[in-house]
Symmetry: C2
Subunit: 332 residues, 2 copies
DNA sequence: TATATTATATGGAACGTTCCAAAAACACGC
DNA sequence: GCGTGTTTTTGGAACGTTCCATATAATATA
């Protein structure tokens, strides 16, 4: 392959005893080719060891089946879980997903996109890094690149967006906690630079307020969305309100950290302090106590994305909200 | 971009007042083009909004700067950390890494590779899924595809392999535990279908044996390399030897699980039972107690891979062993 | 059987780039 | 100003595919 000339449609055609055009029709799965020819070609493909050259195909056809998934933070387990779901669904509809990682950095994100533009990419699926502007996004859209935002909303961006029902999610979690009789409740984690924070916080605040117990400002504590962020947030909460009864967390990872820290202070999660998460990571079901959390179905997000992929109306902002469910487990 | 004909080198050439060939020379960074021409072309590129078409370039030049990283398991935090390091280094040498996930499944892995073959890929960097055979790998190598294995060795595969010094790693950890005076020591986690298990286990067994205290079979407990695997392995250990003094774990994630489970039994990590990990995940430094572990520098692996990328001698099996360091922290 | 219709098969051009061989421009020494 | 050597520029061909318009084969219709 390095030196030797590669096998082309011409070679396959010669072996199969048909024309290169017929081979091409078989390769693209055309219906206007006889069963006999198809079989001859397919055999010849195997015999010659032919490998389809997508660069040539995409150059000529101006089509591609590559889909770029720009992950915001690979080291966040939820991102990984989401990526897996997206990958699975996208592959199912015959497209080929590739992953790149922006690391929550808006410059890296820009560089990645600039590079990816040079490949024919059928669509960019991205979880925008904090600081992504509507102008930046709209410029891309205007240039004709098909973009789908997931998980996070950028106000003013003319793109299709798929995101979970964040407000409903934390509402359900909060209501569950209230139903259990808890009153001193904190909201832990998240970062105001990202839209989902505002939404998840709103679900909490709204539900608390509707219940007649609006939460004090100092019990809504931002943090990194990492385990360590969760530990720190929990530390802050215990400093402000040592008798806290429950914590509604921005994400499962934050909840994990919060649990670690409360244990450090001798408080038992699910007994002394109720805890809920958001995301439903695989481990949340297996841990002890198992974590009550808001389940987001990564496959559903994948399916919604694929729907958009199929009939992409560029420039028309749409918003697909994926329903979530609250799963009560042992932690609260 | 969807409908309108795209801007090509010809358009740039026209605007710049040079030939398409000169534009091409500028694009490929050739030194044999005058400064004046280069500037004219660069200006024209901006003015026209030209976007380089890598499909065309790669078709003609038979070169590519795409590097596929085939991750074994995206949901494993270490894989993610490793991928980040690889990505960073590979991008630094002007190549473009894309990630795909085999999910530890050998069939998925094969499908991915078959698909990727159709794109021009400069190199395949893969952490082979369990069950990957030397025949499978060698067939690819023979077809001329440049392959680098990382983290795991496949015996008989004629590929360049980059992996951490697993034996030294667990030896260091085990010696540290012995130096602390512990004697009842178990090895937790890992799966015999993967080469690194055998190596890490060997480091443990060798060191224990050299010390005159060869470990009993029943204190070497395999498990999934997940948190939950760690929990189960710890449960097994406590069933077999309730007075266990230390656990040397296959990986940090397994150690996390083991710690969770021992706490459940009222045992304090680092006090009642010493714990060591392997990988040095970001969180291991931040948790409490912080985890003593074997540090693998993902950047070093990336650099070694890039070295191989630069002068890839296909078919000649080489083995690059990356040195590791033991980091003593609070857990043991 | 002849003709209309439909189903298949085909060769040439095109996609946007790089390679190559050759031409043009420039520099230098005499 | 002219030959010589060097640097810079250039048009045509090529990479491997798909598109398209046309040709051929097969089938139906009368």
């Amino acid at each position: 392959m390095i030196n030797s000339k590669s096998v082309t449609v011409f070679d396959v055609a010669r072996v199969a005893g048909v024309s290169k055009s017929t081979v091409s029709l078989v390769l693209t799965g055309s219906s206007k080719v006889s069963e006999k020819s198809r079989e001859k070609v397919q055999k010849a493909i195997i015999d010659t060891g032919y490998i389809y050259n997508r660069d040539a195909a995409s150059l000529r056809s101006r089509k591609s089946n590559l889909v770029a998934i720009i992950i915001n933070d690979l080291s966040n387990p939820y991102s990984a879980q989401l990526a897996e779901g997206l990958e699975r669904q996208i592959r199912q509809i015959g497209l080929f997903p590739i992953l790149v990682n922006s690391g929550e950095n808006v410059d890296t994100q820009d560089q990645l996109v600039q590079r990816l533009k040079e490949y024919k990419i059928a669509a960019f699926i991205m979880c925008p890094a904090p600081g992504t502007t509507a102008e930046w996004t709209n410029k891309l859209v205007q240039q004709g690149f098909p973009i789908i935002h997931i998980m996070r909303e950028i106000e003013g961006a003319n793109v299709a967006t798929v995101l979970p029902d964040n407000i409903a999610g934390t509402s359900l979690a909060t209501q569950h906690i209230l139903d259990k009789g808890h009153r001193k409740i904190a909201f832990l984690g998240g970062n105001e630079r990202i839209s989902d924070y505002h939404q998840r916080l709103a679900g909490f605040v709204n539900t608390m307020t509707a219940h007649g117990t609006p939460p004090p400002q100092e019990l809504c504590i931002q943090s990194e969305t990492t385990r360590n962020g969760g530990r720190q947030a929990m530390a802050e909460v215990l400093a402000v309100e040592p008798d806290i009864e429950a914590v509604v967390c921005f994400s499962d990872v934050v909840a994990y950290g919060a649990i670690e820290h409360m244990r450090f202070h001798g408080k038992k999660p699910g007994k002394d302090i109720a805890v809920t998460g958001f995301d439903d990571l695989k481990d949340s079901r297996l841990m002890s106590p198992s974590l009550s959390t808001v389940h987001i179905d990564a496959n559903k997000i994948g399916i919604a994305v694929c729907d958009l992929l199929s009939n992409l109306k560029n420039g028309l902002p749409t918003k697909t909200v994926i329903d979530v469910t609250f799963i009560a487990r042992e932690s609260g």
